[in-house]
């Protein structure tokens, strides 16, 4: 937000992912959305404020000056996930799936058309997109 961290990245896809896991919710303040970019083409053009926080086998990058949650990276992965909110231009991006909806916050619903996965995207989507978590 403050400009102390800037980057240039080559996206692997225009399909973005939202994550509702507790870590992403606590860090972002709601739920997080990201897009994957090539790690070998990722360039930091400003990084004075950049700090990484390790959590289990992942690292989360944020700006120490303004608290913006910017990057996520898994150990051993060549690529990097970029926060959609940090993009200067997200015009071509489409959010295609919601992950870890089993950990979704109790206070919100998702759009009816949202493709939802209980955990990771390697599992099939849940059958009733948009259904309330609290419905029985």
């Amino acid at each position: 937000m403050c400009g102390a961290v800037r980057y240039r990245a080559e996206l692997l896809t225009v399909e973005a992912t939202a994550c509702h896991c507790e870590q992403c919710r606590r860090q972002s303040g709601h739920f997080w959305a990201s897009i994957d970019a090539r790690g070998d083409q990722f360039v930091l053009t400003a990084q004075d404020g950049l700090r990484w926080f390790r959590f289990k086998t992942t690292s989360r990058g944020f700006c120490d000056r303004c608290g913006s949650f910017l990057f996520w990276r898994a150990d051993g992965w060549d690529d990097i996930s970029l926060a959609l909110g940090s993009l200067d231009d997200a015009a071509d991006i489409v959010l295609t799936k919601h992950l870890y909806v089993m950990e979704r916050g109790a206070y919100y619903q998702l759009p009816k058309e949202a493709v939802q996965h209980a955990r990771g995207g390697d599992e099939p989507p849940v059958e009733k997109p948009g259904a309330s978590k609290d419905a029985s």
């Binding site: 860090q27 709601h30 739920f31």
Partner: protein
């Protein structure tokens, strides 16, 4: 504004270095799509509202407020969690809904600053939409 009693909630950042105890002024959650909230949260931000005079923050050196124009944004310097927002002169403070230990009983009731929303996501039906803040009356949800 109508104030309800007994709405005491606790929460904290992802790493646990910053914890808080707050008394909410309402059960409503507000989502903000302004560029600042989007850049800081990484998507869009959702907040609850609490009494500033009763807010207890336990974070030591990990917690910091940063000024931006006439507002301040509080976050954890250890893990980067965006937790608090307050406007100069307001008795209340906004708290990230994602930071709550227990969000039961709370409902997202409004989306604000949709004039700054990008196109990659949709808004769920049944929630009031506003082009800017709620002072300006609701707008029709996007098609």
């Amino acid at each position: 504004m109508h104030r309800e009693n007994g709405l005491v909630k606790t929460g904290g950042c992802m790493c646990g270095a910053v914890r808080y105890r707050a008394e909410l002024t309402t059960r409503e959650v507000l989502a903000c799509h302004c560029e600042q909230c989007r850049r800081q949260s990484g998507n869009f931000w959702a907040a609850i509202h609490a009494r500033g005079d009763l807010l207890e923050i336990d974070g030591g050196d990990a917690f910091v407020w940063r000024r931006f124009k006439q507002t301040e944004r509080g976050f954890c310097r250890k893990c980067g969690s965006f937790i608090l927002w307050r406007a100069d002169g307001s008795p209340d403070v906004s708290i990230a809904a994602g930071s709550l230990d227990d969000a039961s009983g709370l409902t997202l009731t409004a989306h604000i600053f949709l004039s700054e929303k990008p196109s990659y996501y949709k808004i769920e039906p049944g929630v009031e939409c506003f082009s800017r803040d709620r002072g300006e009356g609701p707008i029709a949800p996007e098609a």
